[in-house]
């Protein structure tokens, strides 16, 4: 009997060590510096709220811990879209002024490999900036650092809450430098192909509500020939 108990304890200890190694593996870490941060080209900076209650609308399958907003919005419960979320937000520019509308669709990806530090989400953004034009962003995002640094500590916390200062890039591709692919659709962006990166700054996270304080940011690099034609002090919108 004692041998059975020892075996069970060994199994439990092994699982615990495995889980700890998976969660805190120093070999898996995201890039903190955006590849566009060192670009000489002009960039477009757009902010958006990561708190779902601050979005115009947020919806998912309706059974996730993060609830849709508003409460009675149509939910994505059908099987093919059950792992998809949809969100519409007001975007603001670097001067904290409203810049336009953003709509994001995100779906859990089959490319997720937790053992390799990849928690992948395939997402697209549609941005409409009145007076400027429309943009389409295609990207894959890796939320591994987000899970490790925020979500797991929140679940381990007795208050089911995490507080701190977390800043990270979530864009992981499809660009070779871990950048998103951006296409201009209309206005002054028509025909342009650009690179982009999405990042997040989170200050508080709750198990039952997700992020409760923080902001997201989209950085889009304008093509060099467009940048050169612009005024030297031309802001990022």
């Amino acid at each position: 009997m004692k041998y059975v108990l020892v075996l069970l304890l060994g199994v439990v200890a092994g699982v615990a060590l495995f889980a700890a190694g998976l969660a805190y593996n120093p070999l898996f870490g995201g890039e903190e510096l955006s590849p566009l941060a060192v670009s000489d080209s002009q960039t477009i900076l757009l902010g958006y709220p990561v708190v779902t209650n601050e979005a115009i609308v947020f919806t998912n399958d309706g059974e996730s811990r993060i609830r849709p907003h508003p409460e009675k919005v149509l939910q994505l419960w059908e099987s093919p879209i059950r792992q998809t979320s949809a969100m519409a937000v007001v975007l603001w520019n670097s001067r904290n002024q409203s810049a336009g509308l953003g709509i994001k669709f995100a779906s859990a990806s089959e490319a997720t490999r937790l053992l390799e530090g990849r928690a992948i989400v395939d997402s697209v953004w549609y941005l409409y900036l009145p007076g400027k034009g429309s943009l389409f962003i295609d990207q894959s995002e890796n939320y591994w650092d987000y899970l490790r640094d925020i979500v797991i500590p929140a679940y381990r916390s007795s208050a089911d809450t995490w507080r701190g200062k977390w800043l990270g890039n979530v864009t992981a591709g499809p660009g070779a430098l871990g950048t998103a692919r951006v296409t201009g659709g209309s206005g002054e962006f028509l025909g342009l192909s650009m690179l982009g990166v999405e990042s997040m700054s989170v200050r508080a996270w709750r198990v039952d509500r997700g992020a409760i304080a923080g902001e997201g940011q989209l950085m889009i690099e304008l093509p060099a020939d467009v940048s050169n034609d612009s005024e030297p002090d031309n802001e990022q919108l």
Binding site: E78, G100, S186, G187
Partner: protein, 142 residues
């Protein structure tokens, strides 16, 4: 999903459209996309914006595990309300494709009490490779 002043379509219950003048001329609509067998396969957004120089009508269709399509529509509808657009960009399996998309409103004729007013049909004609616009038009016409 529109709540700008002057819009007649009501917002879903509980949704508050931002009282921001920059969004006054923008009308986004989010849909569930169904295939020909009436099975939900994805989600989409159509945005209609009124600008001084021209109106903008864009679609983004997101099909989980397959990819997304970004489509610019001709703001001026054709005969019978048919609107034609061009695939501007795609992701995943749609990334190497080009083509055109037709949008048409189909009114409901079932007469059922709880039936929707109608549906929007999107028909996409996509081909692989990069063709110049002129050659693309010829291929589509065939």
């Amino acid at each position: 999903m529109t709540g700008a002043p002057g819009e007649q379509t009501a917002l879903p219950v509980g949704m508050k459209w931002p009282d921001d003048p920059i969004l006054a001329n923008v009308r986004p609509e989010i849909f569930k996309i169904r295939n020909a067998r009436d099975v939900v396969i994805g989600v989409a957004v159509r945005t209609i914006a009124h600008e001084e120089n021209a109106n903008v009508i864009d679609w983004v269709v997101h099909l989980p595990a397959r990819g997304s399509l970004f489509i610019n529509m001709d703001p001026v509808p054709g005969e019978g309300g048919l609107r034609v657009g061009r695939l501007r960009s795609g992701s995943r399996e749609f990334q190497p494709l080009t083509g055109t998309i037709e949008e048409r409103w189909i009114s409901d004729t079932s007469g059922e009490e709880d039936a929707p007013a109608g549906r929007i049909d999107l028909v996409a004609r996509l081909i692989g490779g990069d063709l110049p616009p002129d050659e693309l038009s010829e291929e589509v016409a065939k």
